[in-house]
């Protein structure tokens, strides 16, 4: 049995590593795009109270759509391949990043921000030197959750032809080969655990001053 996995692994090494790379690439791009969309939206919703409720509601709703359903819905709209997978996964990361960033900003002691303004610092200085660093722990929590979610979600992306470790799972299921299935699933699980632990470490570093 063990020999089966090893044999399959040796024969398909190139495909395996390529799948890991693709998986990481999809995850990385989706998470980075998620940050680029989620954080500015969060800042906007914290600074402009009128926007805050609609934005948060919209994304809370979005959060309830299952990843697979979202991916399937994407096919008629944006076709198959890497791009639609990245777009859908990005949309899935935005809510958790947005909500955590909002919380991070809201939890900042208003006396700190008031002091900064009273010391003659401009809005940009206060945002980047005071508010962001103080919101960082929660932003990182959002990032961590989003990353783990996307690593799992990217598995499903194989169904719309974007490649990645989901291919092994699909193949395993298709051929009723549990060794292939296990290789794919196990690797996805391992990636999740490593990413989670690494980001937890970063989070702890970020609040060393406490």
């Amino acid at each position: 049995m063990r020999a089966d996995i090893a044999e399959y692994f040796l024969e398909n090494q190139d495909r395996y590593f390529e799948a890991i790379l693709t998986h990481l690439k999809i995850t990385g791009i989706a998470v980075v795009l998620g940050l680029l969309v989620g954080i500015p939206l969060a800042v906007l919703s914290v600074k402009k109270e009128k926007l805050s409720q609609p934005l948060l509601h919209t994304f809370s709703l979005l959060k309830m759509v299952p990843a697979l359903a979202a991916l399937m819905l994407a096919i008629p709209l944006i076709g198959t391949g890497l791009l639609p997978a990245v777009i859908v996964l990005t949309l899935l990361t935005v809510p958790v990043i947005l909500i955590n960033t909002c919380l991070g900003f809201q939890e900042i002691d208003s006396a700190i921000v008031e002091s900064a303004h009273a010391m003659g610092f401009g809005k940009a200085y206060v945002l980047f030197k005071i508010e962001f660093p103080l919101a960082l722990p929660l932003i990182l929590t959002g990032l961590r959750t989003a990353t783990v979610e996307v690593i799992a979600g990217a598995t499903l992306a194989a169904y719309i032809g974007s490649g990645g470790l989901g291919l092994f799972i699909m193949t395993g299921i298709g051929l009723l080969r549990w060794d292939i299935l296990l290789l794919g699933g196990g690797t996805v699980a391992a990636l999740s655990i490593i990413a989670d632990a690494a980001l937890a470490l970063v989070s702890r570093r970020a609040v060393q001053y406490r």
């Binding site: 002691d109 006396a111 700190i112 008031e114 002091s115 900064a116 303004h117 009273a118 010391m119 003659g120 610092f121 401009g122 200085y125 005071i130 660093p133 103080l134 001053y209 406490r210």
Partner: protein
């Protein structure tokens, strides 16, 4: 040219309120109503009033955290509306009860924020941080690199004070800075603030709702109620010539001993009227009257020569005079009580 400028700086009040009012959006009444007063260089002004009387609102209009809705405020003769907001704010220190230190920066970085933005040289900033830490009673070597979260409340407020003074502000705004501290720490910090203020001749506007704190610290006290100034005078004037019923009720709650604790020798000293001798006992003008009383008992002196800043005699207090003064005060309080 420079001399003219300095001259001008000394003549013009540091701060002047002219018929200033503030109404918050949707409020029915003004939080601060038609307030006019001015503050001279080196004045330590305390603002005393009940909760909701408009003290914080008044203070926050000075550094434009709140915008006034009527009137004008002048800073060194300039209408603050015409000053560049950020430059102006860097010249006005701000200390609040919640302290508001930046938790992700070390003590030194906190203190250095304004000097850094003002592009001071690094060595100058480092020296300044050490000087200020020493001034507020914290050992630089020990505290420079600590984070605020690892300091006690009293230590944090010392750092808050140092941070506000970092760029040598022309004016300090303080909103109940010691309000959250225990009685002993509070007293220590009050005493140190007085020393610092006298040493640097800083101009301070200090909000409190503690009558003792207001009278102990203030050269002059602004008494606020319902958004208006009820009286603006020296502690002794307020105690003995309250401007209206509100003020007299406020001060009559203070008993005789308490009053001795908030008035200083300088306030009751009379003209010297004779040549001082080497054997004369001297007392500093800033010593509180309860201490003066204690020294009369200790030394059995007939009088003390009251000395000013540089140790020069500026007046005297005789025992006879002191006794009469205490007597007068007692009568004053008693008759007021009957009147109420």
């Amino acid at each position: 040219m420079t001399m003219d400028l300095n001259q001008k700086k000394n003549d013009v009040p540091v701060l002047k309120f002219q018929r200033v009012a503030k109404r918050f959006p949707n409020a029915q009444i003004n939080a601060v109503n038609d307030v006019s007063f001015s503050v001279n260089r080196g004045d330590f002004i305390t603002i005393l009033g009940r909760s909701g009387s408009g003290k914080t609102t008044l203070l926050k209009m000075v550094n434009r955290i709140h915008e006034m809705t009527a009137g004008d405020i002048f800073f060194e003769g300039e209408n603050i509306k015409n000053l560049n907001l950020q430059d102006y704010r860097r010249r006005v220190g701000y200390v609040i009860q919640q302290i508001g230190l930046f938790p992700h920066m070390t003590v030194a970085e906190n203190i250095a924020t304004v000097p850094s933005v003002l592009k001071w040289e690094k060595t100058r900033i480092d020296t300044r941080v050490d000087v200020l830490l020493t001034l507020v009673g914290l050992d630089p070597a020990e505290y420079r690199n600590r984070y605020p979260g690892k300091l006690s409340g009293g230590q944090q407020q010392r750092v808050g004070l140092a941070r506000a003074m970092a760029a040598e502000p022309d004016l300090m705004l303080m909103d109940e800075p010691f309000g959250a501290l225990d009685a002993i720490t509070r007293q220590t910090l009050q005493d140190e603030l007085v020393k610092i203020q006298q040493k640097l001749n800083t101009t301070i506007l200090f909000v409190t709702h503690d009558i003792q704190e207001a009278f102990k610290l203030g050269d002059r006290v602004i008494i606020m109620d319902e958004g208006e100034i009820q009286q603006y005078a020296t502690p002794i004037n307020i105690l003995f010539e309250p401007a209206n019923d509100f003020v007299s009720q406020l001060v009559s709650a203070e008993d005789a001993v308490q009053k001795l604790k908030v008035l200083r020798a300088g306030a009751i000293a009379s003209d010297l009227g004779f040549q001082t001798k080497s054997g004369d006992l001297r007392i500093d003008k800033d010593v509180y009257l309860d201490k003066v009383l204690a020294r009369f008992f200790e030394t059995r002196a007939e009088y003390f020569v009251v000395t000013g800043k540089d140790g020069q005699p500026i007046g005297q207090i005789s025992w006879e005079q002191f006794k009469n003064f205490a007597q007068f005060r007692k009568d004053g309080v008693d008759s007021k009580k009957e009147a109420v």
